[in-house]
Symmetry: C3
């Protein structure tokens, strides 16, 4: 019997087409109420950045498929006492943890860890700095697959701080592989990525230009300090130039859908009436997030050595 390497979910590029298809199909089935078989495995959520939303989504997903789950939030204290991350991971693996969900502020840290740990521990990148956030990309794709246009018809614009966004990076890479018809990005010049970074993605230089003709718009959260550095020191001006409002949305295709990874800043990157409006998929994204993470954890567990 050939020993297969332990599965990880680090980024979109290293995910096989067949795995993407399998994960999206299983997510859709779970959303329809498919039965789950309890999995006798342990998942640890190791968060070096606070994120109640993502941590809770993973905890609930693990509970729903019967996995044991523990959560460790290390931003608040120096609990690891200077231990290296790979020692922490090896320690958790030795304790019987099968799957490590890692959120880390450093870009590439999860990939580096994958090269440092032994076999038998599945890694799930739950966001690394300005790197990738593949479970978010999968949940966004699952939401579009369920509620949005078919991939060839998709005309999606991602708007905001693209440069620092792991959500944009993973999402655009995945949507492109799924055959998205047209992908655009837009945002303040300082917050756009280097031109070569996102092949197949058009760059727009204003909000109206990016909204024009879109049938899905994905707004990104903007951090106050980055808004400031990018030349928009006050929230009102940023909202006027880059906030999605009903008046701007009128330029999009009728029934254009609106997405946002959350948490949303009402009145900053998105107007409250748009966030709460009938075109908003925001809460559907959250809902699909739990099903997506159930599917991912099942898939990672399926790649682990027999227990």
């Amino acid at each position: 019997m050939v020993e297969l390497p332990t599965r990880h979910l680090l980024d979109i590029a290293s995910l096989a087409d067949s795995s993407i298809e399998k994960l999206l199909r299983r997510t859709a089935a779970l959303a329809e109420g498919a039965a789950v078989t309890p999995i006798d495995r342990t998942v640890a959520n190791l968060f070096f950045e606070p994120s109640t939303r993502t941590r809770v989504s993973f905890e609930l997903a693990a509970q729903r498929i019967g996995m044991r789950a523990i959560s460790i939030e290390l931003d608040r204290s120096s609990s690891t006492k200077g231990e290296t991350l790979s020692d922490t991971a090896a320690t958790l693996a030795a304790m019987g943890v099968d799957c490590l969900v890692l959120r880390h502020p450093e870009t590439g840290r999860c990939h580096a860890l994958a090269g440092e740990i032994g076999p038998g521990l599945a890694l799930l990148n739950a966001g690394d700095g300005s790197g990738e956030h593949p479970s978010q990309a999968l949940l966004d794709a699952a939401t579009i697959a369920r509620h949005g246009p078919d991939w060839p018809d998709l005309n999606l614009s991602v708007i905001g701080d693209i440069r620092h966004s792991r959500v944009a990076r993973s999402g655009l890479a995945l949507f492109r592989r799924l055959g998205a018809g047209r992908l655009r990005i837009a945002g303040p010049p300082e917050l756009l990525p280097d031109s070569a970074e996102l092949p197949g993605v058009e760059v727009c230089h204003s909000l109206p230009e990016a909204v024009d003709g879109a049938n899905v718009i994905m707004m990104l959260r903007i951090q106050r300090e980055r808004m400031d550095k990018a030349g928009w020191p006050d929230v009102e001006r940023y909202h006027a130039d880059w906030g999605l409002r009903e008046t701007v949305l009128a330029r999009a295709r009728p029934n254009c859908l609106v997405m946002h990874p959350g948490p949303i800043n009402r009145g900053v990157e998105i107007a409250a009436d748009v966030a709460d409006g009938p075109r908003s998929l925001i809460l559907r994204q959250v809902r699909m997030g739990v099903f997506t993470r159930m599917a991912i954890l099942e898939w990672l567990a399926g790649g682990l050595p027999a227990s």
Copy 2:
């Protein structure tokens, strides 16, 4: 079939007599060892004030009736990143949370939230500022029902910082509805509520006056800064004037019972020998607290749409 509105537990006033009766009956049965049927629902404990005691009581209650539980404590970090409370609640509901246990420092915040959220999420007010704390009132009533006098015979005095106490407010409202014979309050003048606020409750102006003839005394926790502002800058003087000691307790009815919602300040509002004495119901209140919260969670789940 008529769709009934989702049940909440926000305060005592909006709780029907039949619900009070049902909750107290079920609590008593659970305390006697009644069987529980596991409930395939999820509860989230969302605490914006630290309270290990109340959070643990709810976690244990949820575990004992087989509900999935997650806890989020937000006083320690800015994990929600400026998200509004109703967005946090809607996000949790979208993740599959059925019941939200909320502790919030702002009076009325839980009631306001009930008007902001959609159907399908049951709210449980676990304490809002100086507002209400209905699960504490129910556990106190269950404790009195089990260990104290019959309601018409009850002669209960609540003593301490009544003005800021959600425990006193909810408790007195509930005991009155249950037909309590006599209800009195006492405390430093600055810490008494406005006279119209507690109908049917007598106001006493000294500790001995309030203790006189009582068969249950409920002492409240006093915060140092409020003691100070009320004119008792040192603990010894406060204890001499408002602390329950054996000598004062002699004025009460023989075998008068002593209650306190905890955590207690020994030597401040209550003498150590009284807290630990044979008349103290303090640990029985804690014990009934878990049974009461099991009953409440069962009742809230019973009002949710079929899952």
Copy 3:
């Protein structure tokens, strides 16, 4: 029927030989895959010092034997609001907690608590100041029993900050009772214990002297401030004098094993290649830790009154 006193695990001295034997035998069986019967009991982990490692080990152990578990970390907030430790313990017991795992910075605090609480609550000392850490000693003994020499052949040296180490104190006491052939300690003079404190243990005054002829070496974590006070203000000098490196290890018995309770400081008390080398038992200790704690929790539950 005679009511037996509730079992506690406070230190090595008060643990009967028969209990040590039973615990080590059960740990070995669990490591071999012995079946477990779910235990309908509740354990609370109450940590007044941050320790992700120990808390997670106990949480996983409890989950694996089907016990309900809650964790309370109190270093980060004043959640107990000045409540005494014995009131916190009594409150948890009243809530239905059967077993309290306590980590406390004060030496002797867990023993004192054992004298303050009522029957029916089993206490497990998970580390008290510079006192004891019996579950660590048991897991270390279980690791030696499984991977090391027989007890009479054991030639073990503990090296580093012995004075403040509860790991050393509990471990040496246990190894001695198990019939260890030779036990030595070594460390900077300021970090050695008083001579009478460890009967049957030889004191060495240099690293090479302590390593010479050993077949198991246990390195201890050194805190920067203690290193400094002991006269080694820089890490490089400490490592040169007291850090275990391959060159020093050459003086030990061939195939000498290396232990460390973790978390390790690479390049301080232990060189990275030694920690990661074939003689290192460090991750095996971590693995045995979960089995040891499962065995301890089962044993404590067995001493509780019928539920």
